[in-house]
Amino acid sequence: MRHPAPPPTPPPAPVPARAGSAAVPADGGVPTAAIRARRRDLRWGRGEPGRGEPGRGERGRGGSGSDRRGRARWLRWVAWGVAAGVPLVFLGVFFAYPVLSLVGRGFVTDGALDLSGFGDVFGRDRTWRVVGLTLAQASLGTVLAVVLGVPGAYLLYRTTFRGQGLLRAFVIVPFVLPTVVVGVAFRSVLAPHGPLGFLGWDGTFAGVVAALVFFNYAVVVRTVGGFWAHLDPRTEQAARALGAPPWRAFLAVTLPALTPAIASAAAVVFLFCATAFGVVLVLGGVQYGTVETEIWVQTTQMLDLRAAAVLSVVQVVVVTGVLWAAGSARARRERALALGAPDRVRAVPLALRGPGARWSDRLAAAVTGVVVVVLLGLPLGTVLVRSLRAPDGGWGLANYANLATTGGRNALDVTVWQAAVTSLRTAADATMLAVVVGGLVALVVSRRPRSRAARRSVRVLDALFMLPLGVSAVTVGFGFLISMHDPFGLDLDLRGSTLLIPIAQAVVAVPLVVRTVLPVLRAIDTRLHEAAAVLGAGPARVLAHVDWPVAARSLGLAVGLAFAVSLGEFGATSFLARPDRPTLPVVIFRLIGRPGAENLGMAFAACVLLGAVTALVMAVAERLRSGAAGEF
């Protein structure tokens, strides 16, 4: 089709034989010079025809243009190949390979495949109890997080009030706290002498679920809230005008519109709950173990790699199933939804009192107030209070002063401040990796290719990059340990590399970056791309001038989130951190494990430090984002 020849139908005399080869401007081939002259005269400015429009002469020309087009198409394929390939290679080398190595250990005996482990492991009652408990905990945790989180999303993203920014930053803190710390915090709250000891939840199912909700509340609030903030309110207004009371309009119009965001958040929360490790280990112990803790127990305590491998496979299967279900639910609706034009979406001031008071606001404020104070505030407050409790029983900053030491009886090899610096450096590297890889994934996955095969591969890619969310960080970390001393049979021991921890943390953070940037990219109207293309912007420039400015504001948030998660990452890091270069969470874990009030006090002080840094990072990211949104 792309030959420069004239049309097959015999052209009438005035048509140039080979328009493409004729050295005429874009208007070339117009039969009568009179028309051409007339057009030019009538053109604006009457300047030189070529002025202000270089490059235009090439347009639509045949001839050598067809080679150029072929090259352009080829380049395009290469560019997208690289964009999809870099993350795939990253994921393949640093996620699939270590995890599969670990799993392989369980199934390969003397070089032969041995699947007898499945029958063996599933023959145990313990396995079934663990699987059942995992599902029950994750389901209940997810439901509660959604029920509590949706009012929070409304309050924090659809209304305005003083201190909202602070509250938003506060809500995200639990999500990025090290899991072991949260476990200890909840334990101290629920212990018989703790503030909520009367509930008798210490070491119970309820306690574990409460801690899971504590962690994941922020996921729901932020995912649903971010979506809600851009939802066109006029559909709800239309329902109100049609006679629906507020609750009815919410149920019939707003809630269905929020479904993609809720489904997306619920899927992520379910995965986090199902793979929760530290918090379950501390709170539930062996009695309320999950598949995740069971993998850890089998690997490190019972040294039964086969059982651990079987359980890993079970976990991957469950996770893949959930991802698939959530992905298809989301894909069906996400694209059909148009986000409102920004000028129409305006958060309204919170109305709790006076004639304009709304019950919805009161309900949301009440629910969120209880959640923030009891569920989030109490454990965090307990940690803060205990950090101020000096080892000698008095109050003061002694624990913070001790951060410059290596702990009682030299519990650590470095001071906590040194560990904090290591943490920041590691997190910076991890963030860079995660944002580059996650940004590329979001970019590729946000495309809407025409061909069905390409569309399907985009969906597969989307699901693939959610996998690290569902596979335990413990598995990743342990997999790194056993595979990176001779990766792919190469004589290259990477275990000593300072990049290994950032890479492991990036693997954990990439899905979060994707989830942050992707919805924003997907919400860009295709016709905006088309408008730019028609105005002469090639594919690369459409990306630079349309997608980039819009996505950049969510990228700020992604950077903050990735940084915070890397700072708090514990599961994988605990396997990989060398004693002389631990990160803050590893130090905290070590301090908790050592005897002595001094070490425990230091652990709490370090927790406060980590929480404060995390909150600061999130607050800055939030500020960056809203500042950028102001341009919009």
């Binding site: 089709m1 792309r2 004239p6 049309p7 139908t9 052209p11 009438p12 005035p14 048509v15 140039p16 328009a19 874009a26 208007d27 070339g28 081939g29 117009v30 039969p31 009568t32 009179a34 028309i35 051409r36 007339r38 057009r39 009538l42 053109r43 604006w44 400015g45 202000g52 429009e53 490059g55 235009r56 347009r59 639509g60 020309r61 045949g62 243009g65 087009r69 352009a72 034009a341 920004p342 000028d343 025409r450 109207d525 016709r527 905006l528 088309e530 408008a531 730019a532 293309a533 028609v534 105005l535 002469g536 912007a537 090639g538 594919p539 459409v542 349309v546 400015p549 819009v550 919009f632």
Partner: protein, 361 residues
């Protein structure tokens, strides 16, 4: 546009496969929904647009006119056929190299750029320097009546202002062909009528070749040199407005244009058939084809009647013809305030041969 410079419109209609301007040849476009169903949106359609000409694509919604426009722009792949510019096949020429402009129904202004930034976008893509861009933006904003708006945020604009900015943005890089996709449909009627005139003026002033998609008859007649009537993906007729109105090619076209009653010449009431003088075919009668006349040869019975802006429209049931709208000047205030013809009243009518079209059987 066709009154000087060598009547390009005639040339284009008489020379299929011609060189100058846009040529659409046997184009088929299939539209694939997200659920996988395939529909034929454009069905073996051919069309020519001469340089400097403004052609309106008129048709009911779903007739494929927007899809055709997008196919010409390069945004929809062709299943068959060719799109040519100046005789050169555009297959494989990507959207951004076609040098065409496209204006969307809702403008699709870039939300992160101000008005000036939007208008300058195409110029920046073409590599124009800052001074040239600034001058051109200034020039075009003045052309669309928005001088001094360059630094406004697009979110602060009204609907009409947005469309003006979108028009300015489309015209700024001097597209060799401007495609307008229902550019005025989202606006209210008064604004639409005024803007239709302004769009026409802007297109003429810049001598822009344009294809203008609309489902609004008034808009098509107001803006276009020629009107192409589309239905179900096919081109029914393309002609200058007057020719289209007075010589509709088929009964379908006549119906679409608003002709109300169709009577074969053989069975038409004698006064009507005699007045037209056609030997065969079907007579198409619309508002204005029959005039109220106390001595008229045709009897009719009033069905309903109403006062419109300066006219009285009466729906009359005419024996042997059918129901038809008769339009009369409403007269002075006192006459207009008098009782309208009541349903059931008998009226006399006389045919106006000039307002009756003949279409093939």
């Amino acid at each position: 546009m066709t009154d000087d410079g060598g009547a390009p419109a005639v040339q284009a209609t008489t020379a299929p496969g011609a060189g100058a301007g846009l040529a659409v040849r046997d184009v088929v476009v299939h539209y694939r929904d997200d659920d996988g169903t395939v529909a034929t949106a454009v069905d073996e359609l051919s069309l020519d647009v001469a340089p400097g000409e403004v052609v309106a694509l008129l048709g009911p919604s779903g007739s494929g006119k927007s899809t055709l426009l997008r196919a010409v722009a390069g945004l929809e792949p062709l299943s068959a056929g060719r799109v040519l510019w100046d005789g050169v096949d555009l297959a494989g020429v990507p959207v951004h190299r076609r040098g065409f402009g496209l204006m969307f129904q809702d403008g699709q202004l870039f939300p992160h750029r101000d008005v000036g930034g939007n208008v300058a976008f195409g110029l920046a893509m073409a590599g124009a320097d800052r001074a040239a861009r600034k001058a051109r933006v200034h020039e075009l904003l003045a052309l669309v009546g928005l001088a001094g708006f360059a630094h406004r945020e697009v979110s602060a604009l009204s609907g009409g202002e947005r469309q003006r900015v979108a028009l300015a943005r489309s015209l700024a890089p001097r597209p060799r062909l401007l495609l307008l996709d229902e550019p005025l449909s989202a606006l209210d009627r008064a604004l639409r009528e005024r803007l239709a005139g302004e769009v026409r003026a802007a297109l003429v002033a810049t001598a822009t070749t344009a294809v203008f998609v609309t489902h609004d008859h008034d808009e098509a007649f107001a803006v276009a040199d020629r009107i192409a009537v589309m239905d179900a993906g096919r081109l029914l007729q393309i002609a200058a407005p007057a020719e289209l109105w007075h010589r509709p090619a088929t009964r379908r076209v006549a119906e679409f244009l608003g002709y109300e009653a169709f009577v074969p010449v053989a069975t038409a009431p004698a006064p009507v058939a005699d007045a037209v003088g056609a030997a065969e075919g079907v007579l198409a009668l619309g508002p204005g084809s029959l005039l109220a006349d106390a001595d008229g040869p045709l009897p009719g019975r009033v069905v309903s009647s109403g006062f419109r802006r300066g006219v009285v429209e009466t729906e009359v049931d005419v024996a042997g013809v059918g129901r038809l709208t008769v339009v009369q000047p409403s007269g002075a205030f006192h006459a207009a305030s008098a009782a309208l013809p009541a349903p059931g009243d008998e009226v006399r009518l006389t045919p106006d041969a000039a307002a009756i079209a003949v279409v093939p059987e």
